[in-house]
């Protein structure tokens, strides 16, 4: 199966005085998986629901494969959707849930196809189970199988993992990516979890106040955020005071290149990633370790440099050499930074 191109053109949607979508433009290439990422109320779910036909836009167009489907109701759009809430029909078992969409299309051999889909999501042996006999992760897998069974032109995932516990979430996230790559359906994945978005998407769209702040590959979003909002929302950032000098900013005695030339006055706040901060034990260092947090293979160290608090990321095996109160030297890697 090959995917189709999707284009959201100039979408606007207001709820009272709130602009959920403010002239949103988004083009998704055939077979691509785009993750819409943003804080609550940024309009990402509204964008997905407008694409699904479950919500009407005040203005704008929804184009699928070049055809304007804006006036079509949800039932005629041929899209598979997985919801945040568990949405399996409680009165049907897993197999009948997956067969539901197929039976509406009058497909012959729908039972075989439904069983194949359950096999695809690893639940072939659970066909006779009812939703209340399945765990949350299993229910969302069946929902994914049900959405894919109808061979939708577009797959819509509305925070499908947010109700699951951390381990299942990571498992299912990777599986969604595997299955999407396998079937090649154009997919829009809405989430507020940056790690999830960066891990599964071909491109990530960071949304703010109904608009796309940046749409780029995960690495680019992380390494070259287009704005302070993106830099702060995607990944943890230190807010460090500095002085702008041309295309650079001087922070804690280090000159760092700017992602975009500054138009602000010389005093500015640089957003520096914890992994760009190097902390070395140094008896003569003027910085002091404040706290340390063990996080598995990497750990977090908070240090004070005068009045400034800096968070650094270090390999966990170095934690022992950095006890609280120890004098340290702080160095900043010369990677480009954004200004707040």
């Amino acid at each position: 199966m090959t995917g189709v191109a999707v284009h959201l053109k100039g979408l606007r949607r207001t709820f009272g005085s709130v602009h959920a979508l403010d002239n949103l433009d988004l083009a998704i290439a055939p077979g691509e998986l785009i993750a819409l990422l943003g804080p609550s109320g940024c309009g990402k779910t509204t964008a997905l629901r407008v694409l699904a036909g479950l919500e009407d836009a005040d203005s704008g167009q929804v184009l699928v494969d070049g055809r304007d489907i804006t006036p079509l109701p949800a039932s005629k759009r041929d899209m598979g959707m997985v919801f945040q809430a568990y949405s399996l029909f409680p009165h049907l078992n897993a197999l009948d849930n997956v067969k539901f969409g197929l039976s509406l299309r009058g497909r012959s051999r729908s039972a075989t196809r439904a069983q194949d889909m359950l096999d695809l999501v690893g639940l072939g042996g659970f066909a006779a189970r009812f939703p209340h006999q399945l765990s949350g992760g299993q229910q969302q897998r069946v929902a994914l199988a049900r959405a894919l069974a109808i061979e939708p032109r577009v797959l819509l995932l509305d925070e499908p993992l947010s109700a699951l516990d951390a381990k299942v979430r990571v498992q299912l996230r990777d599986e969604i990516r595997r299955i999407q790559t396998e079937v090649g359906t154009t997919t829009l994945f809405v989430t507020h979890d940056q790690e999830e978005a960066l891990a599964v998407a071909d491109r990530v769209g960071v949304m703010r106040a109904g608009r796309l702040e940046q749409l780029a590959a995960p690495a680019e979003i992380y390494q070259s955020p287009a704005s302070a909002f993106v830099a702060e929302f995607v990944g943890l950032s230190n807010r460090l005071p500095g002085t702008v000098a041309g295309d650079e900013i001087e922070v804690l005695g280090h000159r760092l290149p700017l992602i975009t030339p500054a138009s602000s006055p010389p005093s500015a706040t640089a957003l520096v990633r914890p992994e760009s901060v190097l902390v070395e034990p140094d008896p003569d260092g003027e910085a002091r370790v404040l706290t340390t947090s063990f996080l598995g293979p990497i750990s977090k160290v908070t240090v004070t440099v005068g009045e400034v608090v800096v968070v650094a990321q270090v390999a966990s095996d170095r934690l022992a050499s950095l006890p609280a109160g120890a004098p340290v030297r702080v160095t900043l890697a010369p990677s480009p930074v954004a200004l707040a």
Partner: protein, 272 residues
């Protein structure tokens, strides 16, 4: 310590039985009296079981029984046709109107039947003008009368499921609204729909005031009328109606229990 607990448990058990016996006597004594009275004439019960003979001997009673059964069935049907789509639509599209609709549906409960009749009389002048004076036309008034009970039952059923998500999931797979109602919503609120229907039937079978004051016939009007000429038969029919309502409510509770979802702990396995 153990002795004190055992004594307290014995006392509580005795109190429970005492309450049960007092209540049992309170409810069963009148019924026993009805049975005793209605069997004084040995021909009463055999006659009640012989429909052709009953309708020949007491034609008004037979008419009343038929009218009441017809009214009960049609009221249940009209109520479901009106209420289920309305309740679903309000939940899906007009959630802000939910309180208002609930208030509207509960209104008949707060208005005494006699006041309701005063309001209904001019309306029924038109009903009679357009549809005739058949007692089946009482179905309209009864549909209003059963709204508070039926709405509560259906609303409780809808609260137990996530109608919005289920409907949206079905629509995204290509289901039209009729399919959403018939294949997704209704099967999941089946016990609520049955509860509403049973309550409707029980209420309609016991209704007297409106039918009597609007000069229509039904079972209760016929029983009241019969009481003047054959007291034993009127008591026998009343008892039968009571037992029927009791059986309906019993079925309702049995069905409600049978259709509640099985324990979610049935088989919990980690995600494969």
């Amino acid at each position: 310590m153990a002795g004190v607990i055992a004594r307290r448990a014995r006392k509580q058990r005795a109190l429970r039985w005492a309450v049960l016996i007092v209540l049992g006597v309170f409810f069963l004594l009148p019924l026993a009296a009805m049975v005793e009275f209605s069997t004084r004439d040995p021909g009463t019960w055999p006659l009640l079981a012989d429909w052709p003979k009953l309708s020949a001997t007491y034609p008004d009673l037979a008419d009343g029984i038929v009218a009441s059964l017809l009214q009960a069935a049609l009221t249940a049907l009209l109520m479901l046709l009106l209420l289920v789509p309305t309740a679903v639509w309000v939940r899906l599209r007009l959630p802000r109107l939910r309180r208002f609709v609930e208030f509207l549906c509960l209104l008949p409960l707060t208005i005494p039947a006699i006041v309701l009749v005063v309001g209904l009389a001019p309306v029924y002048a038109w009903v009679t003008y357009f549809l005739g004076g058949s007692s089946v036309t009482l179905v309209f008034a009864y549909t209003v009368l059963v709204l508070p009970y039926a709405y509560r039952a259906i609303d409780a059923g809808l609260s137990a499921i996530d109608v919005r998500t289920l409907a949206e999931a079905a629509r995204s797979m290509g289901a039209g609204w009729a399919t959403v109602m018939g294949r997704v919503v209704l099967p999941n609120i089946r016990s609520a729909v049955l509860s509403a229907a049973f309550l409707t039937v029980a209420l309609v079978l016991g209704e007297y005031t409106i039918a009597s004051l609007l000069n229509r016939t039904n079972l209760q009007v016929a029983i009241a009328f019969l009481g003047k000429s054959s007291a034993t038969m009127s008591v026998a029919v009343s008892l039968t109606a009571l037992v029927l309502a009791f059986v309906l409510l019993l079925l309702l509770s049995l069905f409600g229990r049978a259709s509640s979802p099985a324990s979610p702990t049935a088989s919990k396995e980690p995600a494969a």
